[in-house]
């Protein structure tokens, strides 16, 4: 009898909403409504990926259904394999380097004694993150110009021939990847620095008493303390495996480096420039979403399995 009572009680507690919690739940409603209106209802528009969509016929008008033709169209473009490779290589490199470099820098900054210096460095490296690619891109183009750019002037002083970073297929991808890191590693660094500050200082004291030097402290206290945030950032970034950075590449590429620099987004953009190609664009959108979902799910599974990280 007592047992049954307890069971009903706990059952009630789990299922029902207490009077105190009610306002909190009500506060969720606007958010849910917005998500429903702006994220779920538009999903209906995905049908145009399977149509030859003509605006004049209306959204739910008598459009021609073409099955998977739009997907076939995108994949039948002569450069599609090339473009896919570029996308994955550039995006992949950005994901990996955008994890490793900010973590390293955060660890190094953490070792600085002067907090003034620490803050200055943090601000300086964070700054490019706030510039748009239109601006940052032209700064880069200036710096990397073969004739007048400071980089090539320096290389020239060392006796090297000028390198055309943005106009040579051998260097273009590297340039794209490293300039993106340059622009964004400051942001990651700030996030990791924040997670480092939240580590309990007594752990360091204990480690020091146990005789750990700075390296060992970093390895056994700091890194494990950052584990959660690292895994979170990784899971989130894996969704970007097909986002190689439209803004950046569109502002920095040119026909001569399509071979190594053209990505899915820029290709579709050019296809759509002349005619309103909503259908292939929607098809690419679906394709990218599906791939991203697979990657996010997989990485979430891995995170749960090996790092005990869980959102739900």
């Amino acid at each position: 009898m007592t047992q049954k009572n307890t069971a009903t009680h706990s059952h009630k507690r789990r299922r029902g909403i207490s009077r105190a919690e009610l306002p909190l739940h009500l506060m969720l409603i606007p958010g849910i409504v917005i998500i429903f209106i702006f994220h779920y209802i538009p999903l209906g528009g995905l049908v145009i990926a399977f149509q030859r969509f003509i605006p004049a016929k209306g959204l739910f008008g008598n459009q021609k259904w073409v099955g998977l033709q739009n997907f076939e169209y995108i994949f039948s473009m002569p450069n599609t394999m090339n473009v896919l490779t570029n996308t994955v290589v550039i995006a992949g490199a950005k994901i990996v380097l955008n994890l490793i470099i900010p973590i390293t820098v955060a660890l190094m900054l953490n070792e600085l004694q002067s907090s003034k210096l620490k803050r200055t460095v943090q601000t300086v490296i964070y700054f490019p993150h706030f510039l748009s690619w239109i601006i940052f891109g032209s700064i880069i183009m200036d710096l990397l110009s073969p004739q007048n750019g400071i980089v090539n002037k320096l290389l020239g002083a060392l006796g090297t021939d000028p390198i055309f970073f943005l106009g040579d297929n051998r260097y273009f991808r590297q340039t794209i990847i490293w300039t993106d890191i340059w622009k964004n590693f400051g942001y990651g660094t700030v996030v990791y620095m924040a997670s480092i500050t939240s580590i309990d200082p007594t752990l360091y004291e204990a480690a020091a008493i146990d005789g750990a030097n700075r390296c060992q402290q970093t390895r056994h206290v700091t890194l494990p303390g950052m584990r959660m945030i690292i895994v979170l950032m990784m899971v989130l970034s894996l969704g970007n495996v097909l986002n190689a950075g439209f803004d950046q590449i569109y502002n920095m590429y040119s026909p001569i480096v399509y071979e190594t620099g053209d990505i899915i987004d820029t290709m579709v953009y050019r296809l759509g420039m002349e005619n309103a190609k909503y259908s292939p664009a929607a098809a690419v959108g679906i394709f990218k979403s599906v791939v991203s979902m697979v990657f996010i799910s997989a990485s979430y599974y891995v995170a749960d399995r090996f790092f005990d990280y869980r959102l739900f």
């Binding site: 004049a56 055309f164 026909p255 050019r270 309103a276």
Partner: protein
């Protein structure tokens, strides 16, 4: 007719004097007076000059019409001032007021959109998709127009044009030889009424640094070899001040900065041109292109082109001109505005614009694309299609009728963009304006002969901070772009792009990709990444494998039909 016009003008001028004395320009009264003046003279004008007063008669009962329109940021900025002065707004502008006063038509804007980044086109497609179709509106994209016609949302306009449009407007609309009408054809009927603007903006001119040529005692180039020798001479003499003197300016999009150079070899890589069998062929695949590419490759190898051009937009590439590192450019006539900026910094710099040099020294032929603000289309279910004609007639009269303060309606800080259907002027407007200016020069600066845009241009030529630039474009000198243009027009060396039809599905899918491939292939040849012969053969293969041959067949099918219909 001329006499009547002069009379009307004299009348107007005296009226201006009277009104100018009476009214402060920045007062609501000024606005009202102008509108009233237009209303009073509209019907009279068309009756006296064309006997067509009934076409612009006001309605007895007010007629309402819903429209949409686009504007640009400049206009928006100016509007802030005008709102201050006259309470004018984009939706409730001078033309809307005039239409109500003179024609009893109530124009209602459903929306207006800034056209930056094709904003209008996008917004319009959204509206159409949602089924919100105005009574009449401008369509800017040919495919959109054809799709609207195909879906039966707009009406055929042949009869409307015939019955309701004034002779003057019809003249303007077919000033390009009917090209824009032809572009708006679907299934044998015309669905869009053209709003023409000057077609000559795609005409390519060559600009040469005059002071450098004088320094080295050089003559204007006749042949492409001459041109190359001039470039070499500039470089040799290190006129750029250091090692970094280049021959000419070229950019990554290639065609704007080399259009005239290609034309010098009889090559037209952006147009469908007629071949010897009377059919159409894509200019980018013709043998002559190879000659131009060989030439450009030669310039590149001799260090006459900046190696960085492959990553530079035209704006970036022009830095060579601004830094006095290059003394030759192919560009539009408006380059003079940039040249003036250089002149302001370096008063010694001067430029001439001469006839394009060619391979053999023979005069160069050029191709143009019909340019338009769009087509007026009319909702299938709208009961008063003639409203389009009346509004159009009103705007044409306001802008170009010499009515009183003509510039207030037209060129005054781009007021013409307020017209409900955007400005519509002759396809040869720039050229006609030039002729009008010459007339004024001939009469020793008698400004009473000036009409419409020429009034503003004359002001620019005689006052303000950019006289230098205007003289280099529209002045009465012998080395201006307009002299070159006049020569080309008078000797019929200007042609139109051969293909004016709407793209079919196959072409829509492939064409932009093919053009991409062409640009990449040409760039690679110019910088010597592949040999000319090999690279060009590869490009022809790509053209074919991506459907270019199929497209050429389709285009020729259209062409045969269009030719047959003309006969």
């Amino acid at each position: 007719m001329k006499r009547i016009l002069t009379l009307a003008l004299a009348l107007c001028l005296s009226l201006i004097l009277v009104t100018a004395l009476a009214v402060d320009q920045h007062d609501k009264d000024y606005f009202d007076t102008q509108v009233q003046l237009l209303a009073d003279n509209l019907q009279k004008f068309y009756e006296e000059n064309y006997g067509e007063g009934d076409l612009v008669a006001p309605y007895d009962e007010p007629v309402e019409v819903t429209i949409v329109n686009y504007y640009n940021t400049n206009l928006e900025t100016n509007m802030a001032t005008w709102t201050d002065w006259w309470g004018e707004t984009l939706e409730n502008n001078r033309y809307v007021a005039a239409a109500e006063k003179a024609l009893n038509i109530k124009i209602k804007y459903l929306w207006l959109k800034n056209d930056a980044d094709k904003g209008y086109e996008k917004q319009l497609r959204l509206a159409i998709t949602a089924g919100e179709i105005p009574d009449m509106f401008i369509v800017t994209n040919q495919n959109d127009l054809v799709q609207l016609a195909e879906s039966g949302l707009i009406m055929p306009v042949d009869d409307v044009v015939d019955k309701y449009f004034t002779t003057w407007d019809k003249e303007i609309q077919s000033s390009d030889g009917g090209k824009l009408y032809e572009m708006a054809m679907y299934d044998g009927q015309c669905y869009g009424i053209p709003c023409n603007i000057s077609d000559t903006d795609t005409f390519s001119y060559i600009w040469l640094r005059k002071d450098w040529m004088e320094k080295l005692n050089l003559e204007a180039p006749k042949t492409m070899d001459d041109l190359r020798n001039i470039m070499l001479a500039f470089k040799e003499a290190k006129l750029g001040g250091s090692e970094n003197t280049y021959g000419m300016v070229i950019d990554k999009d290639l065609y704007y900065s080399t259009r005239g150079l290609f034309a010098g070899f009889g090559a037209y890589p952006e147009f469908w041109v007629e071949d010897e069998n009377g059919g159409l062929v894509w200019g980018g695949t013709q043998e002559n292109v190879k000659k131009a590419l060989t030439y450009l490759n030669g310039l590149y190898n001799d260090g006459l082109l900046d190696k960085e051009f492959i990553t530079q937009s035209n704006t970036d590439a022009k830095a060579l001109m601004f830094n006095s590192q290059a003394g030759i450019l192919y560009a539009g006539h408006w380059l003079a505005h940039d040249l003036q900026k250089l002149h302001d910094n370096d008063p010694e710099s001067d430029w001439i614009c001469v006839a394009l040099p060619s391979e053999t020294g023979a005069p160069v032929e050029q191709y143009l694309t019909p340019v338009k603000r769009g087509w007026i289309v009319i909702n299938e279910s709208y009961e008063h299609p003639e409203v389009a004609a009346k509004i159009r007639a009103l705007c044409t009269f306001a802008a170009q009728g010499g009515i009183c303060d003509g510039t207030w309606w037209f060129s005054n800080d781009q007021a013409q963009a307020l017209e409900p259907f955007q400005a519509s002027v002759s396809s040869w407007d720039n050229y006609n304006t030039y002729l009008n200016l010459l007339e004024c020069y001939d009469k020793g600066g008698d400004t009473s002969v000036l009409r419409a845009k020429a009034i503003t241009y004359w002001n620019n030529l005689t006052s303000g901070s950019s006289i230098w630039a205007w003289e280099h474009m529209f002045g009465n000198g012998e080395t201006t772009p307009m002299v070159v243009l006049r020569d080309a027009i008078e000797n019929e060396r200007i042609h139109y792009d051969g293909f004016l039809g709407a793209q079919n599905e196959f072409m829509q899918d492939r064409w932009s990709v093919i053009k991409d491939e062409q640009l990449t292939a040409f760039t690679k040849i110019i910088i010597g990444e592949v040999g000319v012969e090999e690279g060009f053969a590869d490009w022809l293969k790509t053209f074919d494998s991506m459907g270019g041959t199929q497209i050429t067949r389709d285009v020729n099918e259209w062409y045969a039909q269009s030719q047959a219909m003309k006969e």
